[in-house]
Symmetry: C2
């Protein structure tokens, strides 16, 4: 655990220099050296330990979401695990480990009210994977939004991803039959042999539609959607009556696909098969995160839940980490560990 109070004179930062118009590239970011911020009343100063790299980071560049759209020329936004280095008279003592949007920088001043103190129990990285946004999205998406029941067939896309690999495992723990969709046979092999997925399908295969049908002989009851687009369309065509689509993420919404035939199944299939599609933001469930953490700690302890983590080292690797995530290169939770 890091507890040394240490505030440097410089603050290494990654700036989102320009907003992407299409594909995001390393050139959209620049490295900068700013000042360690001086907190205003009610703010604390934190030092970043681990940055959580999420597909949502990309979405923030395009549109207003649950936060305003990002602005070019500012420090790249991002949630992470931080240590309080200046309590500034607030109720968060120095040394406290907090989760907050400190951005891609070594030091940040953030409102104490926006920093969530964490009782770290176990691996620090698990706070970003299982106990972070990805794990909580998997937990509440499967148990609450999807309301997965024993015996149901659950399909998870981006199944090797930060959220997907946990969502699939949680659905299995609830007694469902779980089919993963990923973009490489290597990932699929790992999902089946290491994480216990019942079946997998490669969405890059030319026989994807037929493969999915074969993998789901009883149709699909719950689809945990991390991608949208053509895969969403394909899955919707195989869904059962009273099916549920948990809209957790989308990597396709900002790229217009002229081949999309989504309008053929939305809303048609929703109506004829009484399907519910529901988006959710895991931050809305924050009051129940401690409960979910406790449940998942039990599964970690008895070996039923295996988290995959994909750490990068050093702040300058953050743009590369995000690009790798968006390109689908990674399995598990992508994160950036900072060291001084």
């Amino acid at each position: 655990m890091v507890t040394t109070k240490h505030i440097a004179v410089s603050n290494h930062q990654i700036i989102l220099a320009t907003l992407p118009d299409g594909t995001l590239e390393e050139g959209h970011f620049t490295s900068a050296c700013g000042a360690v911020p001086v907190p205003r009343p009610g703010e604390i100063v934190v030092r970043t330990l681990i940055i959580s790299v999420d597909a949502a980071n990309r979405t923030w560049m395009d549109v207003e979401t649950y936060r305003p759209r990002l602005v070019a020329g500012e420090v790249m936004a991002g949630y992470g695990l931080c240590e309080v280095v200046d309590a500034n008279g607030t109720s968060l003592p120095e040394g406290t480990i907090v989760f907050c949007d400190a951005g891609w920088q070594e030091y940040a001043a953030v409102p104490a009210a926006d920093a969530t103190p964490l009782a770290v129990d176990g691996e620090l990285t698990h706070q970003i994977s299982v106990h972070g946004v990805s794990g909580m999205a998997a937990y509440f998406g499967i148990t609450e939004v999807g309301a997965v029941a024993p015996g149901e067939t659950v399909v998870v896309s981006a199944a090797a991803g930060a959220t997907g690999h946990l969502a699939g495992q949680i659905a299995r723990i609830r007694g469902a039959r779980v089919v993963g969709i990923a973009g490489s046979d290597e990932k699929n092999l790992m999902l089946e042999s290491y994480l216990g997925f019942d079946a997998t399908v490669n969405h890059r295969s030319e026989t994807f539609r037929a493969d999915l049908k074969a993998a789901c002989p009883k149709g699909i009851d719950v689809y945990f959607d991390n991608v949208g687009g053509r895969i969403l369309e394909t899955v919707l065509r195989r869904m059962n009556q009273n099916g549920r689509v948990v809209c957790c993420g989308s990597v396709t919404h900002y790229t217009y696909d002229p081949e999309s035939r989504l309008a053929e199944v939305v809303p048609g299939a929703l109506i004829s098969r009484r399907i519910r599609m529901e988006g959710f933001i895991v931050l809305d469930w924050m009051d129940r995160w401690p409960f979910a953490s406790q449940v998942m700690n039990g599964w970690l302890a008895d070996g039923r839940l295996l988290p995959l983590e994909n750490p990068y080292d050093g702040l300058d690797s953050a743009p590369r980490a995000l690009l790798g995530l968006l390109a689908g290169e990674n399995a598990g939770k992508t994160m950036v560990r900072l060291t001084r």
Copy 2:
């Protein structure tokens, strides 16, 4: 009220001769003269009084829905108001008015278990409009699926249609601000001046997007969707946090629109604004239809709910009635009255 027991020797029928591949035309139907059916055990014979003409009739030709896809060469399927003319030893006495899928024909044998006896109170046509599938879809769509609350902004598409004009009025009765979308200025004038809609937008206008925005200055909380397609996409872009889309009908799902940009907002907007899209089939709520009828009878009595009806006369007019409905020519509930 029709109570005379009378079984003719011939049975005038409309046959769905061929399944449409694209636009439905009168040529897909033929008129035929069949035999009056002989009931099997558990079946009753009914005489058709009024046929309910619904957009769903068209959907049944394309895909399996809550019923198997229609088969070419058979009597066109369709729900309607009928009189029992042969009880055949069942618990439905002759003279009972029932609602059932008798098809487009004068006489049908239907399982007694599939015929819903109606306590007709008021106009017989109201059983098809307010108290039929259209009215029930409006009632349960607004009150249950959409859960419309006072002060919310509700948008209804196909607002002059059988379901839409009732959905809008029910939302207003619940205290919402209601904006109708229809395809002609004449319909919109009628919605505002006669049915009390707060505002209306013409989706054929070149300024549709801007008009919708202007008509909904506080965004949109609930969208009662009767059409899908481009209008659904446009409305989704204006929806508020925690918005709900009631997927009631779709006239566009069987025509592939290469211009569709639905994949830009589904699932992206659903996630970022926590939107729930939910399809429903009003037949699932049948146990609560009597309650809804009672509530709506109260609104009819005090003049707060004004049903629009669009009757055609004679069985041979049924194909024309459906084509008119699909072309958006009509306002209110389209139905065919049979007379001998």
